[in-house]
Structure formats: structure tokens, C-alpha cells
């Protein structure tokens, strides 16, 4: 509850500090503030509270995911001043939009009422449209913003229509009432149509396979920091919200919807990986890799009651390695007009630490042991085998092997090719963010039970 208020207040504070000429203080204030909010949120663990007539329910699911979002936002905010060096006069706008986006994300996992959920998803989306189009002189960024806006508004329409039909069938926006009505036998047919439309809208937002076509274009065109935000924070938020919605919508998934989830998950993994193999632009490659990871995360929906912990673990592992990878990508592609793989040639010699971090994070995404990505996949597959989806697990394992192919393309470029340009000094912040993100990733890999047990 206080998490949400504190995040919004911090965003407003950023705008006010700018008025009083405290531009240099904005990023430190935000990071300290977010750390304080992280502490505040973590203390609320294990005492769930519902406030404002059940509008906001901070149960353990909401608390742990909010903590994850806040950690990711701290990393992204820390990277901001260097990335926006040329537009440093607008830094307060960029930071406060990110904070408002975070507040939308927290509302999306802590909702107890569909209206709160809708407001959360719209706060998140509108902030993202602005960020995607924020490099307004670049035609690529404009195009990415426009595409994302049209697709996002389209998906919002579906979500809204779904909410309206669910309201029509149950007579309430309250999640507890909807859960009760959804599990009773004599619910109107509108309820199922509404649930399907809502799911379609959410699949657009997580960029799962039949609805993924916007993702590569938007990821490539947006400013690199926004791409980092979309592929880590937004993906995790959308996935967590979708998980919570499915859990509340119908506890016992009917057989047909299980089949639909299996098909969508397999499609996402396969299409994402196959398409990623032939990409030369790193941002675009990571967009397809994100689509395949969305496919993996969608698998958790097949065992909604037991797999919240696995989803948290997978999301943390994926997002932390994504942050580490993007910290390096931001450094390498700074002041370049493209993000092609040849930019990374010889990074292993010119900047061994960053090359090492990028290697670790890509190995984690591919699922190589000692990194948490591997354990995330192990727990996920174990969960799915328990639920009896053997075919799905086989396809997922094959897909993990395919994904090694394109991750290694980048790793090989860093270590086997000659550098095309002189080494540039690496600003401290890139080292700090990249190393601490990958250290967190390895730490949760070494002590997986810490995260897994939080939600079981």
C-alpha cells in the first residue's frame, strides 16, 4: 500500500527537485529513495493487507514481485544519466516517467479489483509509449513509438472489452467475487469470452507468439535504455500480472485452455529462437530471445497454484541477466547509429570485464550451469514434468539448445574477432551495474531456495 504512494511521491519529488535547480541530485535521490522503498516493501512481507475496499491487496506475491521491480528500476535509473548525457536537461522527465511506470507495474501485481488492474496497465503502457518515442529527432524512435502505441492501444481495447464482459457476467470488478463466480458452474458464457479477450490482450503485452510481431520492431527502434526497460522490467511485470489474473480467473483450468497455453508456449519458444538465429542487430536478437523466454514463462500458467515461486525465480534470473547484458550493450553502442554484432568485435581484449559480464549473462539466458538461468529452467521443467506435460518439456529442452547458437554468435564475436576501434574508457556506472546485476544473478543461482521458498 505505502509502496505505491511512496513511488509516486518520489516521482513527483524528482520533478520538484528540477524546479529548484537540483539536477545533479536527482539520480542519487531517486536511487536512495528506491532503496528505502525496497526496505519498506520487504518489511511488509508475510503480513498481507487489503486497503481501500479491497482495491489493493499486498499479499506475498505482490510484495516479492514489487521488490523485484524496484531492484530492476534501481539499475535502470543508475544507467540513465550516462545514456541521456546529451539531453541532460530532461533527465528529471526521464527518471520520473520511469518511476510512474514502476508505480503502474506495482499496481498491476497488487490489484484486488479489475479497475485497479486496468489503471495500472494503462499507467505502465502510456509511460512506455512516451519512452519508446523519446528520441524525437530519430525517425526510428518515432516509428517504434507509433507502432508500440497502435499495438498497445489495440491490446488495451481487448483488455477493456474482456473486463466489461467479466463484469457483465459476475456483476463486480472485485477479484474475490470474480474468483467465486468463475468457479461456480452456472456462470454466464460472457465470462469465458471475457477471460479469453483479457488473455489475448495480456499476450500482446508479454509479446507471446501469435501476438509478438510488434516486439522486434519496437525493441530495435526505441532508444537502447528503453529497450532494456521493455525487455526486462515490462516483460516481467506483464508476465506476473497475467499469472495473477489467470490464477484468479479460474483455479481449475479447463482442458481446452491448457492446450491453448501449451500451443502458445511452444510457438513462442520456437518462433523466437528460430528468428533470433538470423538476426544481426543485437537489440533485435534480444527481442526474439525475449519472445522465447516469454514462452518459457507462460509454461508456469499450466500449474498456477504451485508455480508462483518458479515464476518469481525465472523472472528474476531472466531480468537480472538482461540488465547485465544491456549495461554492456549500452556502453558498446553509445554514439553509434546501429547495434550490429560487429560492434562487439574484440570486446574481450579492449574491455575484458564487460565482455566477461556479457558472456555470463548470455550463458545465463541460454541456461548453462552455475548461472541462475540454468536452475530456473531446471525447476520449471521439473514442475512441468510433475504436472505431466512431457512433450512440452522436450520441446523446451530442444529450444534451449537452439538458443545457445545465437548467444554464442555474440560471444564468439567478442573473443575471436579483432577489435575495429580503440578502447574507450568505461564509465564507472556501467561496471557497477553490470557486475552487481550478474553477481545477483549468480547469487540466486547458488542459493535458489531463498527465492523459491518465498512463495511456496
Amino acid at each position: 500500500m505505502y509502496t505505491l504512494i511512496a513511488i509516486v511521491a518520489l516521482g513527483v519529488l524528482c520533478l520538484i527537485v528540477e524546479i529548484f535547480n537540483g539536477r545533479k541530485a536527482i539520480v542519487p535521490i531517486t536511487i536512495v529513495g528506491l532503496l528505502a522503498i525496497l526496505g519498506l516493501t520487504a518489511t511488509g512481507f508475510n503480513d498481507s493487507a487489503d486497503t481501500f475496499n479491497n482495491m489493493i491487496v499486498f499479499d506475498n506475491f505482490a510484495t516479492t514481485f514489487s521488490c523485484l521491480f524496484i531492484v530492476l528500476t534501481i539499475f535502470l535509473v543508475a544507467l540513465s544519466p550516462n545514456f541521456h548525457e546529451k539531453q541532460i536537461t530532461k533527465i528529471s522527465d526521464f527518471i520520473s516517467i520511469k518511476l510512474f511506470l514502476l508505480s503502474g507495474g506495482v499496481a498491476m501485481v497488487a490489484f484486488g479489483n479489475l479497475s485497479m488492474f486496468f489503471l495500472g496497465i494503462e499507467i505502465l503502457s502510456i509511460a512506455l509509449y512516451v519512452l519508446a518515442a523519446s528520441d524525437r529527432l530519430s525517425i526510428k524512435s518515432n516509428e517504434a513509438g507509433m507502432k508500440y502505441f497502435l499495438m498497445g492501444a489495440f491490446a488495451s481495447g481487448f483488455i477493456l472489452f474482456g473486463i466489461a464482459l467479466i463484469y457483465g457476467a459476475t456483476g463486480s470488478f472485485d477479484m474475490a467475487t470474480i474468483q467465486e463466480a468463475g468457479s461456480s458452474a452456472d456462470v454466464e458464457d460472457w465470462f469465458y469470452i471475457g477471460a479469453i479477450l483479457l488473455s489475448i490482450g495480456m499476450l500482446f503485452k508479454v509479446a507471446a507468439a501469435p501476438f509478438h510481431f510488434w516486439a522486434p520492431d519496437v525493441y530495435e527502434g526505441s532508444p537502447a535504455l528503453t529497450t532494456a526497460l521493455m525487455s526486462t522490467l515490462t516483460k516481467v511485470i506483464a508476465m506476473a500480472a497475467f499469472f495473477k489474473l489467470v490464477g484468479a480467473m479460474n483455479v481449475n483450468l479447463p482442458y481446452s485452455s491448457q492446450t491453448a497455453i501449451i500451443v502458445i508456449s511452444i510457438l513462442s519458444m520456437t518462433i523466437g529462437n528460430i528468428m533470433a538465429l538470423k538476426q544481426t542487430n543485437v537489440k533485435r536478437m534480444l527481442a526474439f530471445s525475449g519472445i522465447s523466454h516469454a514462452g518459457f514463462m507462460l509454461m508456469t500458467l499450466l500449474a498456477v497454484t504451485t508455480s508462483a515461486g518458479v515464476l518469481l525465480y525465472y523472472a528474476s534470473a531472466y531480468a537480472l541477466s538482461g540488465i547485465a547484458a544491456f549495461a554492456v550493450i549500452l556502453y558498446v553502442t553509445k554514439d553509434k547509429d546501429n547495434e550490429d554484432i560487429f560492434n562487439f568485435n574484440g570486446l574481450g581484449k579492449t574491455s575484458p570485464v564487460l565482455a566477461g559480464v556479457l558472456t555470463c549473462s548470455l550463458l545465463s539466458m541460454a541456461g548453462i550451469p552455475i548461472f541462475s538461468g540454468f536452475f530456473a529452467k531446471v525447476f520449471l521443467f521439473g514442475q512441468m514434468l510433475n504436472a505431466g506435460h512431457i512433450v512440452l518439456v522436450i520441446v523446451a529442452v530442444v529450444n534451449s539448445i537452439i538458443s545457445v547458437g545465437y548467444y554464442f554468435k555474440l560471444i564468439l564475436a567478442m573473443y575471436t574477432k579483432e577489435a575495429t576501434e580503440e578502447a574507450r574508457p568505461v564509465p564507472f556506472v556501467f561496471h557497477a551495474v553490470a557486475v552487481s546485476a550478474i553477481a545477483l544473478n549468480i547469487a540466486i543461482g547458488l542459493y535458489p531456495s531463498f527465492l523459491l521458498d518465498l512463495l511456496n
Binding site: S115, F118, L119, E122, S125, I126, Y129, V130, A133, R136, L137, I139, K140, N142, E143, A144, G145, M146, K147, F149, L150, A153, F154, S156, G157, L160, F161, I163, A164, L165, Y167, G168, G171, S172, F173, W190, P216, D217, E220, G221, Q279, N281, R284
Partner: protein, 106 residues
């Protein structure tokens, strides 16, 4: 209101708003002028607003009408951002035809 709803029937309202929603979808998918696409999105959202109000009367529950206020405010904010992006595009390429935006491919 309740009488009107009973005479016409809640089903007909659902059909009407579904048709409006579909018109909006086809507008987004088939028109290439950005402003017309924005208008189509507005039709989609307003079809839902109509549906929400109908259900609100049907259930004798005010929550649906309150939700309409939220969704109107959100739609206004969304279109404001969309138009701002459109102005940026117009300044760069002097056109608002979506088909001219083809730099990102692969």
C-alpha cells in the same frame, strides 16, 4: 433506465457494442491514415464504455459507471500521447501515412 433496458433487452446492447468494437478493429487493421486509426481505437474504447454502462444498469450497480470515467480519462491521456508521437513523425517525414514508416524490418 431499467425499463428501457428490459424492453430492448440486454442482449441487443451486447450485440450493438460488439459490432461497434469490430468496426473499430477493422478500422485499425485496414485504414492507413494515422488519425483515422486513432479514431478507430476511440470507437473500440467507446463501444466498451457503452457495454459497461449497460451492464451497470443491468446489475443495478454503480461500479460500472465509475469504471467508465476511468476508461474515458485513460483514453484521453492515451490519445494525447499518440498525437504527440504523430506530431513528431510529421516533423520528420512530413506525412502521417503509416505505410511510410518502414525503416524497421528484418
Amino acid at each position: 433506465m431499467q425499463n428501457v433496458l428490459q424492453e430492448i433487452g440486454v442482449d441487443n446492447y451486447i450485440y450493438l457494442s460488439t459490432i461497434l468494437f469490430c468496426i473499430g478493429i477493422f478500422g485499425v487493421l485496414f485504414r492507413r491514415n494515422a488519425i483515422v486509426m486513432f479514431m478507430s481505437i476511440e470507437i473500440m474504447l467507446n463501444a466498451v464504455n457503452l457495454l459497461l454502462v449497460v451492464f451497470s444498469t443491468y446489475h443495478q450497480d454503480a461500479a460500472g459507471q465509475v469504471f467508465v470515467f476511468f476508461s474515458m480519462a485513460v483514453a484521453a491521456a492515451e490519445v494525447a500521447v499518440g498525437l504527440a508521437i504523430l506530431v513528431g513523425i510529421y516533423r520528420n517525414i512530413h506525412s502521417i501515412d503509416i505505410d511510410k514508416l518502414k525503416n524497421l524490418k528484418g
